[in-house]
Amino acid sequence: MSKYSMHLLVCGGTSCHSSESDAIVCNLRDELEAKGLVDSVQVIMTGCFGFCEKGPIVKVMPDNTIYVHVKPEDAQSIVEEHVIKGRKVTRLLYKDPVSNEPVSDSKHMGFFKKQLRIVLRNCGFINPENIDEYIAREGYQALGKVLTEMTPEEVIKEVKDSGQRGRGGAGFSTGLKWELARKNQSDEKYVVCNADEGDPGAFMDRSVLEGDPHSVLEAMAICGYSIGASNGLIYIRAEYPLAIERLKIAIDQARENGLLGNNIFGTGFNFDIKLRFGAGAFVCGEETALIHSMEGLRGEPTVKPPFPAEAGYRNKPTNVNNVETFAAIPPIILKGAKWFSSIGTEKSKGTKVFALAGKINNVGLIEVPMGTTLREVIFEIGGGIRNGKKFKGIQTGGPSGGCLSDKHLDTPIDFDNLIAAGSIMGSGAMIVLDEDDCMVSMAKFFLEFTVEESCGKCAPCRIGNKRLHELLGQICEGKGSLADLDRLKNMSVVIKDTALCGLGQTSPNPVLSMMDNYYDEYVAHVTDKKCPAGQCKSLMEYVVNAENCVGCTACARVCPVNAISGERKEVHHIDPSICIKCGACMEKCKFDAIFIN
């Protein structure tokens, strides 16, 4: 059917592209032309392979050979040796770092794929609205195994031994949480799935629910069996209409097939799941606030203890887990705790899904084993910083997390390392910042979010965060002093120590970590009244360069506030007291005569 018997795929990702992948494509085509092979071998440029460190990469199909560090002049060897004689060009093969043996095809070099998809195993493979496709990929097998072959205690032990920790952010042992819920005797218990994904830039849970809703339903039933609950509730924000729609379809299909409801698998175990909708408040991701919201009360947190495992929804023992935590349960049951705990670092097992956003080339949803470094995530999988700019920092854990700088790039990502570095894992949002981002403005941006989302119940969060936000605003406007920086820090520490719930206790994290890692930038704002990144408008001054200005009057005509004066063909002047720093003049000027001071 195909007119081509072979394809040469050249990586055209940004990083490889800058190292001559265009020239490689050209040379390959020229070589093929010279040998009369253009009709049977196709050369094509592809997207990023996620292996930039070894780029440029050329992949030969159908035999899956991967060549690394390919130079334009290697085109000849590839065509003469591989294409014509069918012999691999050994010197261009990837060498196993341990054995130093060349690895001949991509199917045997899994390590070049930095990602491992456990939670996302079905996302993008199955039709989420068809239960059959889930069943075909071992769906509901784990539930069947649990109900027919394991006692609840054995299930809990398996989950505990796997080392799985809550993916919602806090990283509490999932097995231990289930054990606590099991221990508390009650006529009724609840399994709750927290799908109130609220971090700006986070979309992991939505993607799982939209792509593989049954994995969460199955895991909730497994949890129900383990803790002795027959009711499941999914708390999901109404802002996720498609996820809700697909969950409804999934629940209906599971019921029709007898996989939810009474007497599941003929074992006498009953379990059903209902949806509860949230209005999209950040604080409702906190489990006590979430439970209150489900009960129809205000979404405000309460002091723990009592923990939900003792008195949760309707005062009954309740186990709350995040979407991602649940989605990893069926594989843990089917492949075993030993398998799961073999992945990851000493204290953080398995994989973590991250939503990569910000100034990065390959914005996307990724899943990597715990222990992968930030460098691998940003510069390999993420394909590096957009527009060739310089990396400045990465905000992990959303507004509750911290901003890590280049000195943390080689830190293996896990729960404990991120805390040690001054941030948190959080739910998995990663926002990449480049040299143009101002760290005072960024801290202010995240604070703005927490101020808006604070429920107002406790003073440190309600009042403290507001003051923090005001102080940051003053610093951005050039009205701050060195004493303000101390004030920022002290207030942050007090809020962290005294706020009632996780929202307040973590809200100063961006400020603290950014002050830690970019203190000079804060000092520049208060002492020199300068914004090194050129973002804080109040600290900028648009100035006309007299040498370049030809007096064309274009800037004066575009200025919305008439701040620019000057006669035709004479040097113009911008009045800083009128200028609103909109930048229109600079954009309009054809002579590069306007610059920012």
Binding site: M1, S2, K3, Y4, L9, C11, I44, T46, G47, C48, F49, G50, P62, G110, K113, Q115, L116, R117, I118, L120, R121, N122, C123, G124, F125, I126, N127, P128, N130, D132, E133, I135, A136, R137, E138, Y140, Q141, G144, K145, R206, S207, E210, G211, Y240, L242, A243, E256, N257, F265, G266, P331, L334, K335, N362, V363, G364, L365, I366, E367, I381
Partner: protein, 133 residues
């Protein structure tokens, strides 16, 4: 649809589905026809995946290509939405990104009909797990 009442039942159902009993739209023998999956999470739909899916459904039929077009969830390549995966019989699936109507047309005319690759290929950069026991 009959209820699954035991683990053996579930396994039987799984094997039936795997043999291709009405799994994919219109597909009686999924291994011998072209399979197109369109990433239809909120983000994919927002960048135009629904139009692309309709295009494939309509055009593959009009151009007499035996194919099954289905929706799936997020493939993870947000930067390249809309994304689709095309599997030709007996070959490894190929993912294409930045699929607009023009590229969708090229994919049908070139890749699906003649096996010639077109721009926008996204190499698979992850491993996944096999739950088969």
């Amino acid at each position: 649809m009959s209820k699954i009442t035991s683990l053996a039942d579930l396994k039987k159902r799984r094997e039936e589905i795997r043999k291709g009993m009405g799994t994919l739209n219109k597909a009686t023998d999924p291994d011998n026809i072209v399979q197109v999956k369109v990433a239809m999470a909120t983000c994919g739909i927002a960048s135009g995946a629904r139009t692309i899916m309709e295009f494939f459904l309509e055009q593959l039929e009009r151009r007499n290509v035996a194919a099954a077009v289905t929706q799936t969830g997020c493939m993870g390549y947000c930067y390249a939405e809309p994304t689709i995966e095309v599997k030709l019989p007996g070959q490894d699936p190929v993912v294409f990104g930045f699929v607009d109507l023009k590229r969708a047309d090229q994919i049908i005319e070139k890749y699906i009909k003649t096996g010639e690759l077109v721009d926008g290929i996204i190499p698979v950069n992850y491993q996944t797990i096999d739950l088969k026991v």
